[in-house]
Amino acid sequence: MTDPAAVVDVASLRLVFDGPPPLAVLDGVDLSVADGEFVSLVGPSGCGKSTLLRILAGLLAPTSGTARVHGEPVGVGRAAFMPQRDLLLPWRRALDNAALGADINGVPGAVARARAGELFGRFGLAGFERAWPSELSGGMRQRLALLRTFLLGRDVLLLDEPFGALDAITRRDMYAWLQQVWLADRRTVVFVTHDVEEAIYLSDRVLLLSPRPGRVVADIVVDTSRPRAPDVVTEPRFVAMKGTILAALEDSR
């Protein structure tokens, strides 16, 4: 299932962690993500969705199969990866954390900070440029981590449950906000979550992974127009789709 137009292309991907006993985490994953597409990976915990993302980030080599970004084998620095926890560096102020990627890649400090500073407003962080991470709320830390990911300037974003640690209300605010930020420049996103509602709300397509060893068992297109209003989650179509996915999740167990 190799699609030449795909930005992210994964074919027959297998990952087995060395034993004893060897543990097959991913077994025959095929998926492709088109340019500017927002795709969510949903699956039961332990199904290997985070592992898949780490392979795409170039942090983990697959046992067999291929994973390509823009037609080239994955490697570190090719896509922008955001792990589950915000992982801000405690010794960097907010602005310096945002500019981390630029600093690593040798962009002059002042240029990197000017570029980061421009986005603070859009990310709801205006006025907190000089704050230490420990002085920010959970939602702000997560937005800062996202800002840092956006600023890497890669056109593929790999987001691993970015809102997993937040409370339900903050979380809902965050995904409405993420949609808005994403719509501004429509980058390609691979989004891992176990929250079905969040996945449908944000995605163009939801891919369902089976329990370990994980592979894609369903591919659900969400064709609701954008921008989606927060109350879209209560519309019958949305509710029906959620029911379908939850049922499929249940079936795959």
């Binding site: 942090l59 570190v76 620095g77 990866f81 992982l87 991470p133 420990s134």
Partner: protein
């Protein structure tokens, strides 16, 4: 959590500081009072145990003698601290970076701390002469150990996901070291060094005892030889004051080097 206005917060902080200082000061005053009383009642001769008042008097008469010895000991202690901190940081980096080195070196480092300095000091004089070197070495030998232990623990405790994240952004090993490992180890390095600072002056005094031209250790030796026990106590007080000053100075430098720690502590309280 009560909300404090800045002014009230500041005054309550000053109050808290006073509350922290008051008990030890009162206890010390009480102990000195008992000491003074006991010496007077039992008529203890000053060459056995001088009274606190007599020691205070000795401070005044020794005023012109002390500065040179104090300066010598301060220089030895500070140099020893700097050398010990540097060696400690290097060893910590080595131990953390190369696991075989850790296994080989760690037991030896522990053994090095079991040798009493009073045994080692004469040998150091034999090897390095009567100058400042053996004293600096004694201090450095005392200082490096808490620094290594504390720094190695911090390096081992760095979140591997943090390193992965920085790597995913394209960082090589040197960049990971510079941007993650070094800053992550700074608070622990200074925590170790602060413990060391408390022992550094005592180390310098031991080094001087074995042979030196000047220093608080020499001052103590000379005073004892001429039965000026009051002056011995004067030197003891100076050792304590100097140790506390170094302890406070290292703490202050540590806070400057890791300003985010301060913010985190404020956030928690």
């Amino acid at each position: 959590m009560t909300v404090l206005t800045p002014r009230r917060a500041a005054s309550s902080r000053a109050g808290a500081r006073a509350r922290a200082w008051l008990p030890p000061v009162l206890l010390l005053a009480a102990l000195l009072g008992v000491w003074q009383g006991a010496v007077a009642i039992r008529n203890v001769p000053p060459y056995v145990l001088p009274s606190p008042a007599r020691i205070a008097g000795a401070f005044v008469t020794a005023r012109s003698l002390l500065p040179r010895d104090l300066a010598t000991t301060t220089v030895e202690a500070v140099l020893g601290l700097v050398v010990g901190a540097g060696v400690g940081a290097l060893l910590a980096g080595l131990v953390a970076a190369v696991p075989p080195v850790r296994r080989a070196l760690y037991p030896l480092l522990v053994v090095s701390q079991t040798i009493p300095m009073i045994v080692l000091a004469p040998l150091l004089v034999l090897w390095f002469g009567y100058g400042i070197t053996p004293k600096v070495v004694v201090v450095a030998l005392i200082v490096f150990f808490p620094v290594v232990v504390s720094t190695v623990a911090a390096l081992a405790g760095v979140d591997p996901e943090l390193i992965d994240l920085v790597r995913s952004m394209g960082a090589d090993r040197m960049t990971v070291l510079r941007m993650v490992l070094v800053p992550a180890a700074i608070p622990a390095f200074f925590a170790g060094l602060r413990i060391s600072a408390a022992y550094a002056v005592a180390g310098a005094v031991v080094g001087e005892w074995v042979g030196a031209q000047s220093g608080l250790g020499i001052f103590i030796d000379r005073s004892k030889a001429s039965f000026r026990i009051d002056r011995v106590f004067v030197a003891v007080v100076m050792v304590a004051v100097l140790s506390m000053a170094l302890f406070a100075a290292v703490g202050a430098i540590g806070r400057m080097a890791a300003p985010w720690q301060h913010a985190a502590e404020r956030g928690r309280s």
